[in-house]
């Protein structure tokens, strides 16, 4: 028993080490510059909103709201696109007994092992041909090609008992009807998990916006913050305030839905 508590103490200590840097960002963003440069305790002695006022209040210099809007728009669109096309594909591939369906699925799943970096240059040229560089479409449409969601939903759909579908078909449901009225409601937890993981992945993407976007007002928050850090490297207060703005939405989502997020990530290992 004593040993178990010793182990728990170590784990608790590790947990503190993991969240400390995040807490540090949030606490330090409220410190005045003098306190930031001379570390004297975790909590701000003289809390201030001046960094936030500057970061949020000078849109012509730092378009944080613009970046926030871009991030929300891009991540929501990616999520919607991925859920729509992946759910349709996964349903058909797992339930409709398509000729050659198994081979198509195997090909899709195999591409999960393709590292994203090998696609960077060719997709860049493809987007340039389409005239999508420096537009949100560059980050939205290619994201729909990822195989993870199809695989993830396929695992779910194939476990649904055949009788449910047959019952709906006898009641006169078309295939689209079965999909819409039977499969989608059943898959709601899986869709929610996939949706959250997709949203967060898109929100936190760094390399994509860095390569495919050019103009400052088109940036997403992560790239905006990185740009910020390069041009205001001395003014940590401002960069930290911008980081808080960038991180807060994701942290809220995570704290509300952590169970689903962590379960979703855990499942990826067991199903492989």
């Amino acid at each position: 028993m004593l040993r178990r508590y010793a182990v728990e103490l170590m784990i608790a200590l590790a947990a503190v080490l993991f969240i400390a840097p995040v807490g540090f960002i949030f606490l330090t963003a409220f410190k005045p510059d003098t306190e930031i440069l001379h570390f004297g305790g975790l909590l701000p002695r003289d809390p201030t909103l001046e960094h936030f006022r500057y970061v949020l209040g000078t849109p012509e210099e730092i378009p944080v709201f613009r970046w926030l809007f871009n991030s929300v728009f891009i991540s929501s669109s990616v999520t919607l696109l991925v859920l729509t096309v992946d759910a349709l594909a996964a349903y058909a591939l797992s339930r409709l007994n398509l000729p050659g369906g198994k081979a198509v699925l195997a090909l899709i799943v195999a591409t999960m092992m393709v590292p994203g970096q090998v696609l960077l240059v060719p997709v860049y040229l493809l987007l340039s041909r389409l005239g999508w560089l420096d537009t949100p479409w560059a980050l939205i449409v290619p994201a729909g090609a990822g195989a993870f969601g199809v695989f993830f939903l396929h695992q779910f759909f194939k476990a649904v008992p055949q009788e449910l579908e047959e019952a709906a078909a006898i009641d006169g449901c078309s295939r689209l009807g079965v999909f819409w009225h039977v499969m989608l409601p059943l898959a709601r937890p899986a869709l929610a998990t996939l949706g959250i993981l997709t949203f967060i992945g898109s929100w936190n993407d760094f390399l994509g916006p860095l390569v495919f976007l050019d103009s400052v007002e088109k940036y997403t928050l992560p790239v905006g913050v990185a740009l910020f850090q390069m041009s205001y490297s001395i003014e940590y207060g401002l960069t930290l305030a911008a980081s808080v703005v960038c991180t807060a939405p994701i942290l809220v989502i995570f704290l509300l839905l952590h169970r689903q997020i962590i379960e979703g990530v855990s499942m990826t290992g067991l199903k492989a």
Binding site: F18, D86, G146, G269
Partner: protein
């Protein structure tokens, strides 16, 4: 069922049963093929933005394709690959990447396993999921924010780490010495990425039947022996999966070095992805960038296959 019987009844009597069967089979095949309508939206994106670019990249890697050059792109065969083999910057970047993978992957596996086993030992499931949440939280932070705060922690003059070490009279050149810079990147990466392997291994541990461990305990095996002789062998498939994912991710390391060290000092942390990025999008030598991407791809595939070969259940 009823509808098919009706169809048969209305067929002309001259048709042989086998012809009818062939026709219904053909019709059913067409009906099943119709299901591809559902797959079409995804398949279009899949082909256009994944399959096509994969091979387009391979073709590009055989081209001298320079966006800023006045010369039109032309085919040069293996030219880009030969250039990479002679390019000291490529070898330096490959060396830095391999060093990173070799340092980060084993440590990640050991620590994730230790954290997962530790988490499973926590009796209260509420506290267990709270600790798990804390360990997973950094994974949710975007690299520009995480990199920013760690760069500041590592700062030699007014960084947190050296401030904490000051009473001991130690001053570590976290980001200014080549050796320490890579160690710093590894340390930051562990903080940022340990969450995913840990939660996957926790899920793997939960799948191991308790009866196995109890049987081993009855046979007199202590906790350490149970872990190494029962838990670890049963966890092997999950561990293999985690190891492969870690290696694939490790070879593509980019954000950490790009934000924290910018590849320095003395290019000690200029990893392959950063060199590919700079070649392709700062110097606009897309053919050479594509060739190095394919080299990296081949390296990743070979290493992953070797891992599966070596670690798979014998």
């Amino acid at each position: 069922m009823i509808s098919r019987a009706a169809t048969v009844a209305t067929l002309p009597a001259t048709e042989t049963p086998s012809a009818i069967r062939a026709r219904t089979r053909h019709r059913r095949f067409l009906g099943r093929l119709g299901g591809y309508v559902f797959v079409l939206p995804y398949l279009t994106l899949f082909v256009v933005f994944l399959i096509f670019p994969l091979f387009y990249g391979l073709w590009l890697s055989g081209m001298r394709y320079e966006l800023v050059s006045p010369q039109p792109p032309r085919f040069i065969g293996a030219g880009n690959y030969l250039e990479a083999l002679r390019d000291p910057a490529f070898w330096n970047a490959l060396g830095a990447t391999v060093l990173f993978v070799v340092a980060v992957v084993p440590v990640t596996l050991v620590l994730a396993l230790a954290l997962a086993a530790g988490l499973e030992a926590v009796i209260s499931s509420r506290r267990q999921s709270f600790y798990r949440l804390c360990i997973f939280l950094p994974t949710m932070i975007t690299i520009s924010v995480g990199g920013l705060v760690w760069r500041w922690f590592f700062n030699g003059e007014f960084g947190l780490f050296n401030a904490l070490l000051e009473p001991l009279g130690v001053k570590v050149p976290w980001l200014t010495s080549p050796g320490w810079a890579m160690a710093s990147i590894v340390l930051m990466t562990l903080w940022w990425t340990l969450g995913t392997p840990t939660v996957i291994l926790v899920a793997g541990l939960k799948q191991i039947p308790r009866s196995y461990l109890e049987a081993a305990a009855v046979d007199g095996a202590g906790a350490v022996r149970r872990f190494f002789w029962v838990t670890l062998p049963l966890l092997r498939p999950v561990l293999l999966f985690v190891a492969v994912i870690q290696v694939i991710g490790g070879f593509q390391v980019f954000g950490q070095t790009f934000i924290i060290t910018r590849g320095g000092p003395e290019q000690a942390t200029r990893v392959l992805m950063q060199y590919i990025y700079e070649t392709s999008f700062n110097m606009y030598r897309l053919g050479y960038g594509a060739a190095m991407s394919w080299l990296l791809f081949v390296i990743i595939v070979v290493v992953s296959l070797a891992q599966v070969r070596l670690l798979r259940q014998r």
